[in-house]
């Protein structure tokens, strides 16, 4: 074979560089799903530990944190508002017939408010957040990795983990609770409109009915769990993006995996949270 000095797939075919055996005959732990699962969990745990180590260590990247809060939080505001409104409206319209059957239509505002604040507001908003922000972070970091931006930061003597990862996870953790509060509020407004489609309840009556049934125990645990939702969306997006190693196709993969695993995490955390709150009550 004539040597080809220039580019090309030829380079990959050099026989000496290949493994001596056929890949199938060699023990390859990477092909076992269970092994891969535990490997992934270990790596994610290490990644999380590194986050907590670096988030406390000065110097802090305040400017970048604020920029990320703006990009992650403020830019998600319209989407979260619209879905929040529709959520409240639809939930009210859907619930009315059932309550009417029991002659309990006057319970409509309170019932809808409790469902929104306790469960639907946080979870739906977090899922939308995972879809928008989680995939965005995953894709952005993976493409920074492919185009060697993360390496470039590292060789200029900076700490890319601190600048890129810590700020994004922190911003996601801070901003999701804020977005949920906004979504809940707009959702209640949607519920108010839903109630008034077929009835006549003025704002004062609506609000007094809502807050009569809403206790502290509904609001606080719901907000605390959104902190964890936000944290896991940021964490998984960053983890998938930062460790992406497969070139251009890795970008799509990282975005996809971020949404899938972050959504899964949201449900798992939700399940744990409901156990804890019901235990405390």
């Amino acid at each position: 074979m004539n040597p080809q000095p220039i580019v090309g797939p030829e380079a990959e075919k050099t026989p000496e560089l290949k493994s001596p055996d056929n890949a199938a005959s060699v023990f390859q732990p990477h092909s076992f799903p269970l092994y891969r699962f535990f490997l992934e969990v270990t790596l994610l745990t290490k990644f999380t530990a590194r986050y907590f180590k670096e988030v406390l260590k000065p110097p802090y990247e305040f400017n970048e944190l604020i920029r990320q809060c703006y990009l992650i939080g403020y830019k998600s505001f319209p989407l979260v508002s619209v879905t929040g409104f529709i959520m409240g409206l639809v939930l009210t319209i859907q619930s009315r017939p059932t309550l009417a059957e029991f002659g309990a239509e006057s319970w409509l505002p309170a019932m809808v408010a409790v469902s929104i604040i306790r469960e639907i507001g946080p979870v739906i908003t977090a899922l939308i957040f995972a879809g928008k922000v989680g995939s965005g972070i995953g894709a952005e970091l993976a493409s920074m990795k492919v185009t060697e931006q993360i390496d470039a930061m590292e060789v200029s003597g900076m700490n890319p983990f601190k600048y890129i990862v810590v700020t994004r996870i922190a911003a996601a953790t801070i901003m999701l609770p804020a977005l949920v509060v906004i979504a809940d509020t707009i959702s209640l407004y949607g519920a108010y409109i839903g109630v008034n489609l077929k009835g006549d309840v003025n704002v004062h009556l609506f609000l007094s009915q809502v807050f009569e049934k809403l206790a502290f125990i509904d609001v606080l645990p719901a907000l605390i769990k959104t902190l964890f939702f936000g944290f896991s969306v940021g964490l998984i997006g960053c983890y998938k993006g930062y460790n992406s190693n497969k070139g251009t196709e890795g970008v799509g993969e990282a975005a996809n995996a971020s949404v899938v695993y972050a959504s899964l995490m949201i449900f798992i955390i939700d399940m744990i949270a409901v156990q804890i709150t019901s235990f405390m009550m």
Binding site: V7, A11, L17, S19, Q149, V155, G157
Partner: protein, 241 residues
């Protein structure tokens, strides 16, 4: 005696079962432009990434500016890294920042005044002939411009050693030549030492004081451009055809 800035001994690196670098021995002297030639996928990028500690070698010793890279703690490594410039293959500009912010980034830890930093940024851009692009985003720049901005960012900390990863790949012949000349100019002006990785023969001819060819993870030939061009080894000669 000439000062040796980088010394690599018996460097080995494998990814899984794939041996990329088998036994690399290199020395880079002060003020010298060393060109590393090799086919695509021969491990050239891996080699220079080992020099700055981005990739950890399996075996071997790398000392840069008198410090052994493998033994350094994070802070010490960062101090050494600040004296090394690295021009990435794609320029590696930060997409979310303007050209100005890109150039300011390496200066973040410098305790000088805002005006002084501005001055440094403008100077660095003048150096590569791109002052007018200062407020553009990287996405608005052409491939050649991105490489130049990347070069300006690399130069802004006045490194003692510059590592160029394929500085002319993907550029048209004229721009390639301009970049090659720029590399020479930088070396003359600051008396830096450089490692230039390439498979572009023209770039190697213009920039290289000494050339090394990598094949199958080892250095197979070494010499000046004319020496290697008239080498007895047919494989070596084929690079220059």
């Amino acid at each position: 005696m000439e000062k040796i800035l980088v010394e690599i001994e018996h460097l080995k690196k494998a990814f899984g079962s794939k041996n990329v670098l088998m036994d690399i021995n290199l020395r880079i002297k002060e003020g010298e432009n060393l060109v590393v030639l090799g086919k695509s996928g021969s491990g050239k990028s891996v080699l220079i990434k080992c020099m700055v500690g981005l990739i950890e070698p399996d075996e071997g010793k790398i000392s840069v500016l008198g410090k052994c890279i493998g033994d350094l703690k994070e802070d010490e490594l960062n101090q050494v890294r600040k004296k090394i410039g690295f021009l990435f293959q794609s320029g590696a500009l930060y997409d979310s920042m303007t050209v100005r912010e890109n150039l300011e980034f390496p200066l973040r830890e410098l305790k000088s005044k805002k005006e002084e930093k501005d001055q440094l940024v403008v100077e660095a851009l003048q150096h590569v002939g791109l002052e007018e692009a200062i407020d553009k985003m990287p996405s608005e720049l052409s491939g050649g411009m991105r490489k130049r901005v990347g070069l300006a960012r690399t130069l802004i900390l006045k490194p003692e050693i510059i590592l160029y990863d394929e500085p002319t790949t993907g550029l048209d012949p004229i721009t390639s030549k301009e970049i090659s000349k720029l590399i020479i100019e930088i070396q003359k002006k600051h008396n830096t030492s450089s490692v230039i990785i390439t498979h572009d023969v023209e770039c190697a001819r213009i920039t290289g004081d000494r050339l090394v060819i990598i094949k199958e993870g080892e250095c197979v030939a070494e010499g000046t451009f004319t020496e290697l061009q008239s080498s007895k080894d047919e494989w070596v000669r084929s690079f220059f055809e």
